[in-house]
């Protein structure tokens, strides 16, 4: 018996070790690709395999990064964009969920609204940019509006669909206790749809970045989107690429935060 247990212990340890080995292997190659990419870029630019004016180089970007960090302008632009994106993303998700609630609450309204939702969803929302800027003024409010508009319709559709797909037997249980429509919503429909709402959060992170960057292109006052447009206009592609890398970094961090929240919130399903 004891021997048997020992044997299983050994096998288990061996299994865990193999898992770890696999993980290290994957990490190693991920890191290798990262390093190789930047090294190759640097070399390509240095030996003029590509036009350094257009593609810049990691060292030039790094130097610019340090410089902009020192004079404080990078922090301002990044935080402006981040603020607009987070707000646009939160507003888009909240508004979309509220609209979905309205559709669920008034089934007839949802039938009437259906074709319009399809049209609004199909329309490229960034095309609304100029109108928003004229309506709300060329300030951060119109940029936030862009970040919101771009995600609100798809959120509405996805969340409403999940509201409707809640197993009617849960509602039946509540109805046998005499639950009101509000109680049905609060106790069954909303909690059952939490996983869907969280997963739309993930999609909306990406969408809001698109909306906000395009908004900053148009308004052209501040932010990482402005930095891209400015760099493009004065033909300073190092600046463009620096902004791009920062956007990629921030968007990834935001996505990871949402993924973390998702894991915390829906651990019991």
């Amino acid at each position: 018996m004891k021997q048997q247990n020992n044997r299983i212990d050994v096998l288990h340890r061996r299994y865990v070790a193999s898992l770890r080995k696999e993980k290290r292997y994957v990490r190693f190659y991920q890191l290798l690709i990262f390093v190789a990419f930047f090294a190759l870029w640097e070399a390509a630019s240095h030996y003029r395999w590509v036009d350094p004016l257009l593609f810049s180089s990691p060292s030039a970007i790094w130097a610019l990064f340090i410089k902009k960090l020192a004079d404080g302008s990078l922090l301002v632009h990044s935080s402006v964009t981040l603020f607009e994106t987070v707000l646009g993303f939160v507003l888009g998700t909240l508004l979309g969920t509220c609209l979905a609630t309205l559709l669920w609450w008034f089934p007839r309204f949802s039938k009437i609204a259906d074709p319009y939702l399809v049209i609004l969803n199909a329309m490229p929302k960034v095309a609304l940019g100029p109108i928003l800027i004229v309506a709300l003024g060329p300030s951060f409010s119109s940029i936030i509006a862009m970040g919101t508009v771009i995600s609100v319709i798809i959120t509405t559709i996805v969340v409403y669909t999940s509201f409707r797909e809640v197993d009617p037997n849960y509602l039946k249980v509540l109805q046998t206790f005499g639950a009101s429509r509000f109680q049905c919503f609060k106790e069954a429909v909303l909690p059952a749809s939490f996983p869907t709402i969280i997963s739309t959060l993930k999609v909306n992170v990406g969408l809001s970045w698109v909306g906000v960057i395009v908004g900053e292109f148009l308004v052209s006052k501040q932010g990482l989107g402005y930095m891209i447009i400015y760099g493009f206009q004065v033909f300073q592609f190092t600046l463009v690429l620096l902004s791009l890398l920062i956007i990629a970094f921030l968007a990834t961090v935001m996505y990871q935060i949402v993924a973390f929240i998702e894991k915390k919130l829906i651990k019991n399903r």
Partner: protein
């Protein structure tokens, strides 16, 4: 003196764009206080529909339901309903699930909570209060669902094939437990089943239904000897198999009559 529950000339038709399905045709029956009755019949004969009508979850096309001499029009706190599957809310702990009915009805007092928890203990689920439903087995979950239904202290319990999703052994044990619990608390119960043995073992009276359209064909009184016995003991009694054969033939003749 009027019976505890009276179902009077109930008919129900489901309408869709293309069809009109008559699920129940002119069903009348009455149930006394403290009685345990079963609705037995093939699937599709309208048992669930009738239960939903008694619980006021749907309004019948025709007919009335009376509880203690009063017509019921809307969901009634004296009627408890238990579904085929447990439908415990997976995001709530067992305890939160148990208190759900109390919360919805606005009768969430410390005393009722205490009663619900002691009922949970009585039914053999002590220590599971803070578990989530998916941590329990199917039989345990169905037991928890029973406690959730009983927590609001209904006078009559409607059970819609509550054991049909369980394996045979669990089912026998649960029949025993539910029967004993309902007897102890003096509840009136109405069990829907398509299992002849279950109907005989558990009930005092059996209503036999035929399908398409759903009609009440006959009513059987289970002999006194069997009624006294708990479901497991009843299954061992010689009268049990006799009645089983008899009901089997009845059900069979209903099907071949088509």
């Amino acid at each position: 003196m009027m019976s505890f529950l009276v179902v009077h000339r109930i008919s129900h038709t489901y309408f869709t764009e293309k069809t009109a399905i008559t699920a129940l045709d002119n069903v009348s029956l009455s149930i006394e206080k403290g009685e345990f009755v079963s609705f037995l019949g093939p699937s599709g004969c309208g048992k669930t529909t009738l239960l939903s009508i008694i619980a006021s979850l749907i309004q019948p096309t025709e007919g009335t339901v009376m509880l203690e001499g009063e017509k019921i029009h809307s969901i009634h706190p004296s009627v408890g309903y238990m579904l085929q599957q447990d439908y415990l809310f997976p995001w709530k702990t067992i305890q939160e699930n148990l208190f759900l009915g109390l919360k919805i009805m606005g009768i969430d007092t410390a005393e009722r909570r205490k009663n619900a928890l002691s009922l949970l203990e009585r039914i053999g689920l002590q220590g599971t209060e803070h578990y989530y439903p998916q941590q329990l087995s199917g039989g345990m979950r169905q037991r928890a669902a029973l406690v959730r239904t009983l927590a609001t202290d209904p006078k009559i319990l409607l059970l819609d094939e509550p054991f049909s999703a369980l394996d045979y052994q669990t089912k026998l044990k649960l029949e025993e437990l539910v029967w004993q619990t309902l007897k102890d608390y003096g509840k009136t119960a109405l069990l829907v089943t398509h299992d002849i043995g279950e109907a005989i073992a558990m009930s005092d009276r059996i209503f036999l239904f035929s399908a398409k359209p759903g009609r009440l064909v006959r009513t059987f009184l289970v002999p006194g000897e069997l009624r006294q016995l708990s479901p497991l003991d009843a299954r061992k009694h010689p009268l049990f198999s006799e009645l089983f054969q008899f009901l089997w033939k009845e059900l069979d003749s209903l099907e071949t009559a088509k």
